[in-house]
């Protein structure tokens, strides 16, 4: 074997791994079962070359290479795809003018093939040395006809050594341009990934004729093995897919097809994202075709009939094919690959089942079909575990198991559950997270946590399951904490008839962990607070009616007390009603009164259904009012619009001004107005409900009056008081407003690293949220009167973060002070009051557990940290002057 060929440049041909579930077949789908397609009934698929040169290629040579590369696809005899060269682009595209071709706001009638002659465009977009040679794909599609109307490609000229390299890249990229996604048949055996020609570990068909016979590697494989390795020459798999999308009349009548569905071990739940390969047993490498299950739909839910299905076309009539499921080991795919829920295996005809004792993964039943025919029902049911088998969850892994009955979590029905090594069950997605947190508990998938902690069944103990017709139980028995400390025993049982969840604890050695039930990020507000799960007796039933989560987090200071206890969660079967519907237009906008927020489940609001909902709220503002409108929580890409409710005029809108993909508007009215605020999802810029994501959100709609203070990052501003304020035994005529979430008297303070010693030693202080806040990213308003001052911190995030904090400090002439919290981020902070100047440490006070009226004399504080985050959102603390 010569090794010199291996040293050829290996290149990755990458599709968006993080994209929605586009297919391993088509790159872009229009609807379930319907890909976007170019119209090839006329002159063909258009392309418009750039005017300039392409690195080592002259303009003429570059245009010729483009035409030749498209022609490789046009020459497929069973496909109708043809291509034609339109006019050249109107300009020589370079670093000064490329944006309209890269990110056109609307169709422009051009399908640009941009020649970045100098590489400056690629360097500007990705930084020098990114290693990106080019990209391509469909650009615009008509959703009424599912027709691709324009495409584009950018090619990095200096990155091509010669014409061969350029052509290789172009042929692959123009497959994408034609709407083909990546595929895997033989390529995976060339990457040194240990893959085989059958279900691993079975190398059923041996190795390819010659390990360096690159000709067996499909053109649309995600990795390129360099010039001279056959990328320009299409393989059976490439021919099959271009012909499936653009078939000649004889394609389906002269070739055979195989179709089927991939199932979870329950034999009922269809699974997308599994690579399916069919090999002709007489010609296993050259006559082989693949598909990713579910590749003709963007959806993965069971309501979509295409989910989990596959179809292989262009096969040899009468030939015998072995069909198997194969784990994708590397590369980017537009249909997100899944971790297989069982071993790779062949389709095994009538023996196909989840029982490995009768369905040997290494045994196949050959499948064949005649010309024009299709062998259907060629299904694969993954093998699984039997009750009592040790579940291989190891340290941080999970397995998905079918449920013997449908189980409901907060309105969503599930037929399968994920068993996570770290002591929880989740629905819809597994969890490898070993560092439990409230934020992740509320924002992640629906979860039932017995002991969510860093457990390690790889070091000891056992995780098993059992089932009956009416119950499903997972048991962690003597499982130590990582690395190998102690032993913990508990079980979680799901009950069919009552739809309850029961957690039964045995001996526990963990001191920390998180226990409870969460409806998950699409249902929770994110502001739910923990409760003491263990009350009295030996068991407790927690009624989840009108609750989206019930939980307790344990720390070294508040240790796990659930050993020997029994918890039952009930009444979490149903979903929640949107309390404001119908409010889908301005005429039906629901009237609210600022300050408003809908974090309570009693004011549950959701953008649902996706693509069919927008929520309008209305209220009146006066000239001079400062408005804060923000989606402070939501597990989707929100949009906010503000309308004149009387005229319907859109006054302002925001897409991503808030935290992550959430929205925020900070505005000031200069006339009296009736306003309507719309909450919807991107890209519903018409605010008519045509968004493409959705879920629960928490909207803050507050109005303020007063003066905007010049607060920055780590600044202090002395503010004169209109009244003498008596605090901690002294009288003050001014207050220092410190940007890091606190006010002091007698001296300012810019310290961004809060600590108890500094609290005690510093000036007299009221600290609503002493943390490293960045006043430049929000606003602070002082609302004066002759007898009181309200300091409003409005949407002020922590430094280098975007999660907002809303709170108000109140001071009045009677010496009363108060803190009124709105939405705050679950972060660290120091909260409290102190006389400072070397005060004695009285120890912490749990404010959320106390009656909220406290003495304002002396020192009272609570220190929050990243394991025990601020839990004071939408609460108030009142400090009396005595």
């Amino acid at each position: 074997m010569k090794t010199s060929t291996i040293r050829l440049a290996l290149v990755l041909l990458v599709a968006a791994a993080a994209a929605p579930a586009f297919a391993g077949g088509p790159l872009a789908n229009c609807d379930s079962g319907q890909p976007f397609l170019w119209d090839v009934s006329g002159p063909g698929i258009p392309f418009n070359p750039d005017q300039g040169d392409l690195g080592p290629l002259t303009h003429a040579a570059a245009v010729a290479a483009v035409a030749d590369s498209f022609n490789r696809w046009a020459l497929v005899p069973t496909s109708t795809a043809t291509y034609f060269q339109g006019a050249e682009l109107p300009v020589d595209v370079d670093i000064t003018n490329f944006e309209p071709y890269l990110d056109a706001p609307a169709p422009d009638g051009l399908s640009a093939i941009v020649f970045d002659d100098t590489g400056e465009i690629f360097d500007l977009l990705f930084g020098p040395g990114s290693g990106i040679l080019g990209f391509a794909g469909p650009e615009w599609g008509d959703v009424t006809t599912c027709t691709i109307t324009e495409g584009l490609s950018f090619l990095n000229g200096p990155a091509f050594d010669d014409l061969t390299a350029a052509t290789d890249v172009m042929v692959h990229e123009f497959g994408h341009y034609s709407n083909l996604a990546h595929t895997i048949v033989n390529g995976q055996q060339f990457l040194g990934l240990g893959d085989t020609s059958g279900p691993t570990p079975n190398n059923t068909f041996g190795n390819p004729p010659n390990p360096l016979a690159f000709e067996v590697i499909e053109t649309m494989y995600p990795f390129y093995f360099g010039p001279g390795t056959g990328t320009q020459n299409l393989n059976r798999d490439d021919v099959s897919m271009i012909s499936t999308l653009y078939p000649e009349a004889t394609f389906f009548t002269t070739t055979a097809s195989i179709a089927g569905t991939i199932f979870l071990p329950d034999g009922a739940t269809r699974l997308s994202g599994v690579n399916v390969i069919a090999r002709n047993t007489a010609d296993p490498f050259f006559d082989a075709v693949s598909a990713v299950s579910g590749d003709f739909t963007d959806f993965t839910d069971q309501g979509d009939p295409v989910t989990g299905t596959y179809r292989l076309n262009g096969l040899t009539p009468g030939a015998s094919y072995a069909v198997y499921v194969d784990q994708i080991l590397a590369g980017g795919f537009s249909t997100t690959p899944v971790a297989l829920p069982g071993p790779e295996e062949f389709h095994n005809g009538a023996a196909e089942s989840s029982d490995a004792s009768t369905d040997d993964p290494s045994v196949f039943t050959a499948v064949s079909a005649a010309a024009g025919g299709a062998a259907t029902g060629v299904n694969v049911i993954f093998n699984t575990f039997a009750p009592g088998d040790p579940l291989p969850v190891g340290d941080d892994d999970f397995v998905q198991l079918p449920l013997p009955f449908a189980f409901k979590m907060c309105g969503q029905e599930y037929n399968a559950v994920y068993v996570n090594a770290n002591g929880s069950l989740t629905f819809g997605a597994g969890s490898t997270d070993f560092s439990e947190s409230i934020v992740e508990f509320l924002g992640g998938p629906p979860r039932i946590a017995g002991v969510w902690d860093d457990l390690n069944s790889a070091a000891g103990g056992i995780v098993t399951f059992d089932r009956t017709a009416n119950t499903f139980t997972v048991r962690w028995e003597d499982v130590p904490e990582f690395v190998n400390t102690g032993a913990n025993t508990f079980s979680i049982t799901l009950k069919r008839s009552s739809n309850q969840a029961e957690i039964e604890y045995g001996d526990l050695t963990v001191v920390d962990g998180l226990a409870g039930l969460s409806c998950g990020g699409a249902i929770t507000s994110g502001f739910e607070n923990e409760e003491n799960l263990r009350t009295h007796g030996h068991r407790r039933t927690i009624n989840m009616n009108n609750d989206t989560a019930a939980f307790e987090i344990f720390t070294a200071g508040e240790t796990n007390d659930l050993a020997g206890y029994e918890l039952t969660f009930s009444n979490f079967k149903n979903g929640f009603r949107d309390e404001f519907e119908p409010n889908d237009d301005i005429a039906h906008a629901r009237r609210i009164s600022p300050p408003f927020s809908n974090e309570s489940v009693r004011s549950f609001s959701t953008v649902s259904p996706v693509g069919g909902d927008v929520d309008y709220f209305r209220f009146r503002v006066k000239a001079g009012d400062i408005l804060a409108l923000e989606t402070v929580r939501g597990a989707f890409d929100s949009l906010i619009g503000v309308f004149d409710a009387d005229t319907g005029d859109l006054l302002a809108f925001d897409d991503d001004g808030g935290n992550g993909l959430l929205s925020r508007l900070l505005l000031q009215a200069n006339v009296d107005l009736n306003l309507a605020v719309a909450v919807t999802a991107y890209p519903d810029f018409d605010f008519n409900g045509a968004g493409e994501s959705g879920g629960r959100y928490v909207l803050v709609a507050n109005t303020y009056r007063g003066d905007i203070l010049p607060v920055g990052d780590d600044t202090t501003t002395e503010l004169p008081l209109n009244f003498p304020f008596r605090y901690q035994g002294a009288t003050y005529n001014s207050v220092f407003v410190n940007s890091n979430g606190n006010v002091t008297f007698g001296a300012g303070n810019t310290d961004f690293s809060e600590s108890v010693p500094e609290l005690l030693a510093g000036p007299p202080r009221i600290a609503p949220l002493w943390d490293d806040l960045d006043g430049t990213q929000g606003i602070v308003v002082a609302e004066h009167s002759s007898h009181q001052l309200n300091l409003h911190f409005i949407s002020v995030p922590e430094f280098f973060a975007t999660s907002p904090n809303y709170f108000t400090v109140h001071l009045d002439v009677l010496g009363l002070s108060g803190i009124f919290y709105g939405a705050t981020s679950r972060s660290d902070a120091l909260v409290g009051v102190t006389e400072g100047g070397g005060a004695a440490d009285p120890g912490e006070t749990d404010f959320s557990a106390r009656f909220p009226i406290l003495s304002g004399r002396g020192t009272t504080y609570e220190q929050f940290n990243l394991g025990d985050t601020v839990d004071l959102s939408f609460r108030s603390l009142l400090f009396l002057p005595f």
């Binding site: 872009a28 944006e99 977009l125 290693g131 040679l133 008509d142 390129y224 993909l661 991107y682 999660s803």
Partner: protein
Amino acid sequence: MKLRIAALGVAAAIAAAPLARATTLVHMNLRDLVQRADKVVRVTVLDVSAGTVSAGGGDLPTVTYRLKVEESFKGDAAEGKGAGVLEVRMLGTAKAARTEGNVRKLSFLQDVPELRVGQDYVLFTTRPSSAGLSTTVGLGQGAFTITGSGKSEEQAVNAFGNAGLFRGMSETGLASGRPVSYAQLAQAIRAVTGK
């Protein structure tokens, strides 16, 4: 329309609507990644935000990651209050496909790695361009997810399963195409940087 409302604070960013294309990359082994990178850092993702940048005659959508630097293998660290914090702005967006009327925008480069808040990574980042944009070298090749963070058996794997990562680097004794321990990856990086 009479302007009756004025924006305060940070201006709203209105981004366009990209989707996925397909990209061709030079394959790089670890040595190539290190040599091409401006910075090689182990980070924890603190925050992600969307925005735009003006370039090429228009505005392009961006995703900005704020990263806490846990360990630096190559490149200068920031000074001052932001020391230990790195900001990386990449072309791209997490936006869904946008349909206006009958027309849907089907493609935009979304091949840049998508980083998750709270997750640890080893990133090989390119030098920011004149527009302030950078990415990870070789896109997913230069973005290693750390699993088992904080543990003795931490593993590192890039977006392409470490395919070909140690090709031509037999001196490392490490195998491509499978996760590698973080300690081994760090050692191999240091061997290349000479630090």
